[in-house]
Symmetry: C2
Subunit: 234 residues, 2 copies
Amino acid sequence: MANRAVADWSSDSGGLEPIARATLQEQVYQQLRNRIMTGFFQPGQPLSTRSVAEAAGVSVMPVRDALRRLEVENALVVGNNRTLQVPILDVDTLQEISAMRIALEGLAVERAMPAINTDDVAVLRNLCGVMNDSILSGDIDKYLEANWAFHNRIYERSSSEIMLSVIESLWLRMGPYFRLTAKDKNHLDNAMKIHHDIVEAMRTGDCAAARSAVVADIEAAAGDLSQWLAQQAS
Amino acid sequence: MANRAVADWSSDSGGLEPIARATLQEQVYQQLRNRIMTGFFQPGQPLSTRSVAEAAGVSVMPVRDALRRLEVENALVVGNNRTLQVPILDVDTLQEISAMRIALEGLAVERAMPAINTDDVAVLRNLCGVMNDSILSGDIDKYLEANWAFHNRIYERSSSEIMLSVIESLWLRMGPYFRLTAKDKNHLDNAMKIHHDIVEAMRTGDCAAARSAVVADIEAAAGDLSQWLAQQAS
DNA sequence: TGACTCCAAGTGTGATCACACATATCACCC
DNA sequence: GGGTGATATGTGTGATCACACTTGGAGTCA
């Protein structure tokens, strides 16, 4: 009587996968967010509710929620006629975001260090390899994705949800421009060297070295982008 | 022909005040935000769209937008049955938020220092007086308001919009608990002493002293709240 | 030719209705 | 009496319609 087929359902391993219920709003949000993060949209590009709704094949309601969510995260800003658009980065804002990144990501690394184990180091080293391959094959999308996965892996070890969400929003704000620096060979070489420094600091458990390496990574990106922006303005 | 009455409208000083068009969603958002910041709502209190809509006398649509906005800011969190509720602070989250506050508000003070002038110092000194009066009269609402105005005045001088919005969201997250520490005489005395230190550092332009005073303020609040939470748990 | 008027398209905002889901209550049957 | 199923209530989600506002350009008149 006890060994009915139903009994298996309650076992932890033998049941069905938990059904991931993603609302339409959530799906639209994730798609837009991903495209912003990877620089799919041009800076300044307007995103209206109706246009996005038509492109996604849904009503304006989920789109409205998704866009507002992105607006609060500073991933989108209000344009001229109240239409939301991808933010255009100026040098001052770049400096502000970079300063915040240094403060928060430096803090996140310090908090994460005690929780970093050998598995993490292996994953980070593997992601370094993926980035290297992406550079050789010229796959910018893959590089950007691996780069975020690399940093995210570290920060999520700090077990700080709020801090992680803020850091993500800062990356989101810089997303449309990351792709630009990812085309510069010198920047990529330098970035890969820094990434290896980070992994090495993680392996040896050197907290100060890890922090300074992360800071160096952020400053390098800020410097290259600042240079690009200045060049663009002239 | 040029000096028609219409000409005055285009002048910068002689026109009408720009009409502040606040949407319903914006009004609901501001009201809820203010009440969260000043600890009007109890931690854990659920806020459903329909209940808020009925209380505010509007449809569920503006309320939905306002609640989602607050959710993204971490000012509200999802409860059991997907209903949003005022977040309950645990010691770990308190430490996380305080660490972020130290990193970001310390940075904001440093960036603000060069822009601080004698007017700012006068305003800050005045706000200290307001806080003092509020303590004597026992008006906690007025004290909390003046306290936020004091810090906000400093941070907004850093001319860093994004940083300011993040700092605000952190204050919002701690809002429901600020009121608790504002009942403790020892905490208030210590806070007022620190506030005077901040003003003094602003007056003399001592950047390091200003930063350390702000950090001391945050650490004092974190310490007192942590103590209160531990006492509550037992 | 120039300035002005008017209209159409596009935008966000808000209300209302309908639906799926979760929970609690209670009658019901074994 | 205790488990079982139906129902009522409250919840978020989404679609559809209506409205106010902005903007652009075509058309018109001086």
